[in-house]
Symmetry: C3
Subunit: 362 residues, 3 copies
């Protein structure tokens, strides 16, 4: 517990934890103050995500690589998962899908691009393990094909039963691919992915008891705050003059990924670009091949109706372009500041388009 307090004292981001009780109290007292609740819940989720990510890695560090990898896969994007689950239970499938697609695009473009830029401003040229980058890009490509083909082949909004059965089959296929990918990178071909392994290193792992307790406690808090966030986000967006697409894609994704971004950027500034690329692309492929299909499977249990994998065409195009961009820039295994600018500009084009998009055409 002392360790936890010490960590909080040294990490300014964690001071935001003060907003957790504030937002929960505010939701009780003023449930109709959507804009205020939205701002407070964003401020509360960011430090919770950071704690969650640190606790997960501490557990993973103790349990050995295979189990640790599995744990990381399940918990690494826990914030995104909990937010999406809350929206899923509320039947807000549009928001679930927007937050999945947004997380993939934001991690692939914003997290990767900003890492390249921040690293490149300090170092002339940076190198990283391209085997690992290529594999993550390949997994992302597979996931994009899985989301693209159903709508490309059936064209019109085809019979819902076709989409539903296919989505279920694709969800299973993606999870299997993700599992085999972990087997490949953690077991059979470990050596090839060497330097990308000690992701998040540099932070001292917590003892097991503290880590597990944090994990349990923080997950409950994230769930509570997420509920407030999901309930307030639509009205708040309107109040800020933001389109729902922009909120789902950009705001939710930036909030959910704040902790990973901090780790990725700090890696880039320390010339450990392997770390940054691994977090950015690994996080994207985790959401695409694990979080999204798990949500489809869970929708049969907890949702009001089964959720399918049919995304809004604009979202599919953005995921496809993000994947192509990642594949294109990581082909050389080298980076300089302008590579980061290029990747960030692609993200900026998406953000601007979504921001300006008239709500009715979405």
């Amino acid at each position: 517990m002392n360790l936890l307090l010490k960590e909080i004292r040294h990490n300014p981001m964690l001071w935001l934890l003060a907003f957790v009780p504030v937002v929960i109290a505010a939701a009780k007292v003023k449930p109709e103050a959507h804009t205020l609740l939205f701002v407070l819940s964003v401020l509360a989720i960011v430090p919770l995500a950071a704690l969650l990510s640190h606790a997960t890695e501490s557990v993973a560090a103790k349990t050995g690589d295979a189990a640790g990898g599995l744990l990381n896969a399940t918990l690494g994007n826990l914030t995104e998962l909990v937010i999406a689950l809350t929206a899923l239970r509320a039947g807000e499938y549009m928001l679930v899908k927007a937050s999945i697609a947004g997380a993939i695009v934001t991690n692939t473009l914003f997290m990767l691009g900003a890492s390249f830029l921040l690293g490149g401003l300090k170092y002339h040229v940076q190198e990283y393990n391209r085997a690992s980058a290529r594999m993550q890009a390949g997994l992302l490509f597979l996931a994009t094909v899985a989301l693209l083909i159903p709508s490309a082949v059936s064209q019109a909004d085809s019979s819902s039963s076709f989409t539903q059965t296919l989505s279920l089959a694709l969800a299973v296929l993606l999870i299997v691919a993700y599992g085999l990918g972990m087997l490949f990178s953690l077991k059979t071909h470990r050596a090839e992915f060497a330097s990308a392994e000690h992701a998040e290193a540099g932070e001292t792992p917590w003892p097991m008891g503290l880590a597990l307790a944090t994990l349990a406690g923080v997950t409950v808090l994230v769930a509570l705050v997420s509920e407030i966030f999901v309930e307030s986000v639509q009205e708040a967006a309107e109040a800020f003059g933001m389109t729902p697409a922009f909120v789902g894609f950009i705001v939710v994704a930036l909030v959910g990924g704040a902790a990973e971004m901090a780790a990725a950027f700090s890696g880039a500034r320390k010339n450990r670009l392997d770390l940054s690329v691994g977090i950015a692309l690994g996080s994207s492929s985790q959401i695409a091949l694990f979080v999204a299909p798990v949500l489809v499977l869970l929708s049969y249990v907890i949702g009001p109706a089964p959720m399918d994998l049919q995304f809004w065409p604009g979202a599919v195009v953005m995921m496809l372009i993000a994947t192509l961009t990642a594949a294109f820039v990581t082909v050389s295994g080298r980076s300089a500041w302008f590579v980061g600018v290029l990747v960030l500009m692609v993200y900026l084009i998406f953000a601007m388009t979504l921001y300006l998009l008239p709500p009715r055409v979405q």
Copy 2:
């Protein structure tokens, strides 16, 4: 003749030749038993394709490289060509196009992916000549552009005379590109493609007389059996609960390519991945740049009406994704088992989508 019998005795796949007389007899006796005829004709085509492929290579081995290359180009996909010609004569243009697109996708994804996987299960990392892979991927890319642009530019189903004239021009352009590609890889830049050259090596070539006689005899048999196959395939598909798209794309392509797959997989297991990649991508580009355009030209002579190159949009998207996948995975010239899994999963996504696709939306 003794040599032929000895070959048949040693190669279990050729024992299936017994089904050739069976299917021809069955078609005479029970012409309405579509499901039975479909199964029998599939069983009969597989060994005929293997014989055809061996005979072609024996002739090619004798005639020297330039003529041999031309022969291989004309005869290498003879099974696919004869099946397609039978369907063309019957005016079944949908089936012709589905079998062309299916053969390209199946060879590019299934044959290549399974080769990577089978080789990778035995060897940790395999290397191959990427110059050759890149050239085939480039030819495939050109063919995909040729099939994509007319519909992308004209958008709506445009005037049929425009599509017809353009298809004719594109067919000529693709054949010229294919011819120049052979000139490049067999004449001017032979050395760069060295190891991919002795494809199918390992099998002893037959003497010329036997090879030519086999070629002639087997072609007639394939033509006979193909006719039964084409006539029975649609009804059989319905009986099996398969969509026509699935049959045209997946079943016909797997049947037509059985012999080449056997050669590609055996190459991969012997750590001769150059061979496997050469057969898989070479076969795809042959169909795209030679078989398909030749069918368009022949449709003016033997078909009931000219055939165009306008494919079903879903098929174009699949060919495009198959080409991008091939270009992406062959960029490094190295392979491990998971690369094979990734490529096979893309194929599986296509197969699942086509299997589940409600027939009317196609």
Copy 3:
């Protein structure tokens, strides 16, 4: 002045300058002879473009790299810019956009492909600086995404005010990206782009006075002739049986880029492929990230109404394919004649499609 006359005497292309007074006189005497005026204006623009390009480089050579680069960016595609401005003032936005898209596609595919082919016919294998090619391909990719996303996301012809605001924002973003790209290649990472720097070398630069005078005088002449060209091009196209799309895309682009093509091809024949790739891709990205956005900004000042960046979908697909082709063929940094053939064939597919396209579907 003597120097200028000497240059004209030694360069047969400049003899075409005789057509400049002829076309201006003809336009006065026979303003309705569109076909004649079209042919004469094409013949007059080619040598003017060559003079303009030589003068620009002479000035750039004197002013040092940073200022010279900026100058080159502004004046390098001056011919295209002046033609487009003339069309812009006339409110012919279709022609402006077609000529922008056409110049990008023509420079990327025809200029690059023909350089590879011409160089490859003389040298077995040619190598070039792929860092520079990759950066230009990256800039082109960014521009293509900027043109693609608005229509992909909004799908239907969305509200004009959305398109207009977004176009303005994208125009600014592209110009910033272009400026940062110049900063990167000319300042911070100069060394990496070394050999691509002395583009157009080999020609002796003119003295400053002559260069500036030529620049001023020729720009006026180009503007005069462009006006005749833009006025006559539509009617002339019909008389020649060419579709407006073909004229805008292919004819205008070939005419406007004639001078750069001469320089790129001569570089390739001298085994200086860096020069050719730099001119071809540099010119494309200049038009996409500088000329096109500047035209959008200028349309607010000189056009009858603001111009947006929403292109005809077929044009977007062509630009996307051209960019992918450039990225694909430059990945290795090596070239042989067949690479040129492949790239030219992609261009030929576009040209054939546009030539045959029935006018009403465009």
